[in-house]
Symmetry: C2
Subunit: 344 residues, 2 copies
Amino acid sequence: MKKNLSPISDIGEFNLIDRLKKILPAVEDPGLLVNIGDDTAVIQVNEQEVWLITCDIQIEGRHFRLENTSFYNLGKRSMAVNLSDIAAMGGQPAFALVSLGLSPDMTVNNYDSLFEGMRDQLAEFNAHIIGGNLAKSEKNLIIDITMLGKAKPNQFVQRKGASFGDQIYVTGTLGDSGAGLALLEKFGREYPRKYEPLIQAHVSPKPRIDIGKKLAEKHLATAMIDISDGVASDLYHTCKMNKVGAVIDFEKLPFSTDIPEVVHLCKLDREDLLLHSGEDYELLFTVAPDNSPNLLKQLSRDFSIPISHIGTIFPPEDGYKIHDGRGIKRNLNPAGWDHFKKQN
Amino acid sequence: MKKNLSPISDIGEFNLIDRLKKILPAVEDPGLLVNIGDDTAVIQVNEQEVWLITCDIQIEGRHFRLENTSFYNLGKRSMAVNLSDIAAMGGQPAFALVSLGLSPDMTVNNYDSLFEGMRDQLAEFNAHIIGGNLAKSEKNLIIDITMLGKAKPNQFVQRKGASFGDQIYVTGTLGDSGAGLALLEKFGREYPRKYEPLIQAHVSPKPRIDIGKKLAEKHLATAMIDISDGVASDLYHTCKMNKVGAVIDFEKLPFSTDIPEVVHLCKLDREDLLLHSGEDYELLFTVAPDNSPNLLKQLSRDFSIPISHIGTIFPPEDGYKIHDGRGIKRNLNPAGWDHFKKQN
């Protein structure tokens, strides 16, 4: 590689990941079905089973603040973030490994609570911690989790797979986690109790394992990703990977009833919140146009989770657009969360 | 769990891991052959194959200092540490996932070099990076690696398995990494060039994959661990797990020819260096008494790596002892590296 002495903040997260294509060699292993660039790697381990493997690092101050959560909820959340990647492939979680960087003045009780939260979040899906590693961190708490899930070889969903005409859907509602965070930043733990569901969406998001599995089993989703960086950004990366364009309809983006109030209260921008706030951990997926929307309605009823049609996949020359609230079609700015870009 | 409000530094790393036995539920999965407490977890994935899974977090300032190494060597080392855990089970490395916490002022070239080092270390064993995750760290570089290895179901070696009469062996030499670190701390990068092998042992340790695999395949090792915390500490934990005692012979501990000179130069304690300095990543293993030492001699010749007999496993009531340099048998202090205890 040519020497590049600029700071990594100049090129940003996705360019950094792109560089690995040049640095790392191609892997000639017939068992490796999905390599870097999806929610998880996928490895076929026998005729009936593939394994999904992902890891995610969360650093105090960047990904969470201890004043906004309990250690128990932090444990749940750190597992949920990884479970969500398994959900986005349509898999069943199985095992987790936990690497922690702990500050020595953390209490034993904090440590216990963190693991109790992790354990309870995994137990919802019959998954277990089977290993890990403890180290000392001078200052910030660091949580890195590796998650292993399982799926059938013909029943997992990648980010690749969307084609022209596919319809775009999301589970749940958008912006809840961002609104919850805004409330915590404004009120601290003294937030108005009526907004508890938004707070919960932020401190303890629900991974969409069951609905993800069903979308995969029924071969409904042609491509799928979980929304961690904001729907605009995650859809944009999916489009880029599939070499397609998309138009989404702002009026169709689903949101909770309390959102307009919180937007006003916390002086948020509604469009920004719904399109660009991350960490909702809902599923964003595409469905072939000949698939009946009734199947999705049934799924939504079965799991009591909204599934909303928000747009359509177009050829790449149509670009990446949004019908905004005034019925005007304009370019959609994919800018979501980038861990390295200076604007963050 | 009863609330314990003391800081984790009061109870230390091994007690923290022990608490997980009470917090985490038993796992009823017939495929999970080895759970928390060994160098890796072990999962049977088909009739011919088990998977070995481990992860390890390394934090700048605690596990490495950027002034002592290049990003390339740091990449190699961070993989080597994880490969060593696969070696300690007698496995063949296959895949790695890399989670990084990067400071935004790191250069793109630093980033490239880090991955090039990782790639090259893995390439020695035909293993590959297949996934990971990038995040921003305010200050310290954080490297968390998950390593997947493979073995045959009846051919992996656990920490459990040592019994009375077994003979204790180590590969390579002890204290090289500790001596290398002492030289770097005294001289910085201007260390006398004749000590390059000791420096290399610290900045780019060699995982003992090939010899570990052979010890497993030939069913020579009854129990095995890699030396990360110092031979005294790692042997002690192996003894405790196996409910056995041990006597080691100080005069038999293998060391490089330059060690006495460096001990003098850097004002080190030779016994402390050989027994308690960590990060050698050599293999420590036990062999049944009826196994001919000639097999090990042959193995040592085949791989051009010393294999030294350093002691014997005894019943637990015989305790944990050392024959010191003056021929006196005394209790061996297991104190090695503990990430949380205050003395560190």
